[in-house]
Amino acid sequence: MRNLIIILILFFASYQVRANSIQIAVASNFLNTLEILANKYKENNDLEILISNGSTGKLYAQIVNGAPYDLFFSADSKRPKLLEEKGHGVKGSRFTYALGRLALWAPYEKELKKRLPYFTPEEINFIAIANPMLAPYGKAAMETLMALGVWDNLQNQLVRGENINQTLNYVLSGNAKIGLVAFSQIIKIGMEENNSYWIVPENMHSKIKQQAVLIEDKVIAHEFMAFIKSAIGKNIISKNGYVVPEH
């Protein structure tokens, strides 16, 4: 019995997180860019960066319930603000790391893609958007379709992805002929050469302010945050399909 206990203790001890490691929670749309940022950062810093991705709402609920993250990259500004107000986030650490860009995308429609953003409800089967109630990209998509004057006519053809990645899958798998996705996703899957998208002008929807907040007041987390705000960090973010706001 005693041997068993010792084995168990050794087993768990080996699982202790390294001292120089940070855990980051990131909204799915920014995962790929954050991984690029993390790899760049690790070139000059001996640091383990553990990244968990999920929807903003789910990660928020995890953090409120004590999930061990040091940093949170949200897809909106509402959740980081709430975390700061409720005392889960470090006061004053919140900042906008990126502004999301929306793209109307019809990858397989040869005729349609030349005419974007103009299309009629008759020539499409479904239009995929992120759920406006759950995802900032969904709300922006709704506003865009309203600004284009087609929202009412498309009501029966709207399909809503739980998050922006699922929305991309609906279009990529060929189930929906057209969709409003994040421009960063089109870059990620390497389909920006295909010229099958139309980038929605920023004045057509309210800003998709993606904010980050520090959860744990750790020096190494502060340092990584500073890297995100540096010129190198900003450059990586804008190359991956986002607009970097002026501070």
Binding site: A128, M133, V159, Y170, S173, N175
Partner: protein, 226 residues
């Protein structure tokens, strides 16, 4: 407490569960019967296939279905050939998903019920001149009703509890593919914990009562058998 949107989600859920269970009983009966009496060397293979949805994550099923149902996919193309519209994001698509997802919950209880009857009574009936349909209606059905009850309730309850597959192939269309589990998820994500509590509580109670029904009836049937 419940709004029109919730009632519509409940209605879609119940309709989906009823239709899927009905189809599963229809398709599951011959399949379970074959699994009970067959001596084929392929039986273990079929048994394993039937049990697959028990162990596969719903995301695997949802992923394959999303590809298969699409206009370029295997199932989607056949469906379009016969004049159907797109299967993904449709109620019919959800029914296909649910039938696959809940298959073991219907086939396994039926197979076990048929196994308990054995071939003996049927052979006796056959020598007395009963046709196969006679034998099924007068021997198999009366003797295996507890199996049918278990299969129906489990199939129904499991379809009501379906989430991952629906989330992936449903497209969350109110009144068509938005089921209760998805709308609970949506409420939690929006931090509407009160509404999430109401709907979750409802689902919890209904699921418990359904399972209770199975266990009470199983006990009764065992007592009468003794």
């Amino acid at each position: 407490m419940l709004e029109a949107a919730d009632i519509s989600a409940i209605w879609v859920t119940i309709k989906l569960a009823f239709i899927s269970t009905f189809l599963l009983l229809l398709l599951g009966t011959p399949l379970a019967w074959w699994l009970a009496i067959s001596r084929s060397k392929f039986k273990p293979v079929v048994n394993a296939l039937v049990a697959l949805p028990l162990v596969l994550p719903p995301t695997v099923l949802g992923f394959y279905l999303l590809l298969a149902l699409s206009p370029n996919g295997v199932i989607g193309r056949v469906f379009m050939e016969f004049g159907g519209t797109s299967l993904a994001f449709s109620f019919s698509g959800l029914v296909i998903g649910s039938v696959i997802y809940s298959l073991p919950f219907v086939v396994q209880p039926l197979r076990d019920a048929f196994n308990r009857i054995g071939i003996g009574p049927l052979e006796t009936a056959a020598t007395l001149g009963a046709t196969p349909i006679d034998r099924f209606l007068t021997i198999v059905l009366p003797l295996s009703w507890p199996g049918y009850l278990t299969a129906s309730v489990l199939g129904f309850a499991h379809t009501v509890g379906e989430f991952g597959v629906v989330l992936m192939i449903g497209g969350n269309i109110p009144g068509r593919t938005k089921v209760l589990s998805v709308s609970i998820y949506e409420q939690v994500e929006q931090l509407n914990y009160d509404k999430a509590h109401t709907l979750s509580g409802l689902l919890l109670i209904v699921s418990f009562l359904l399972l209770l029904l199975v266990y009470i009836s199983n006990r009764r049937s065992r007592v009468t058998q003794l």
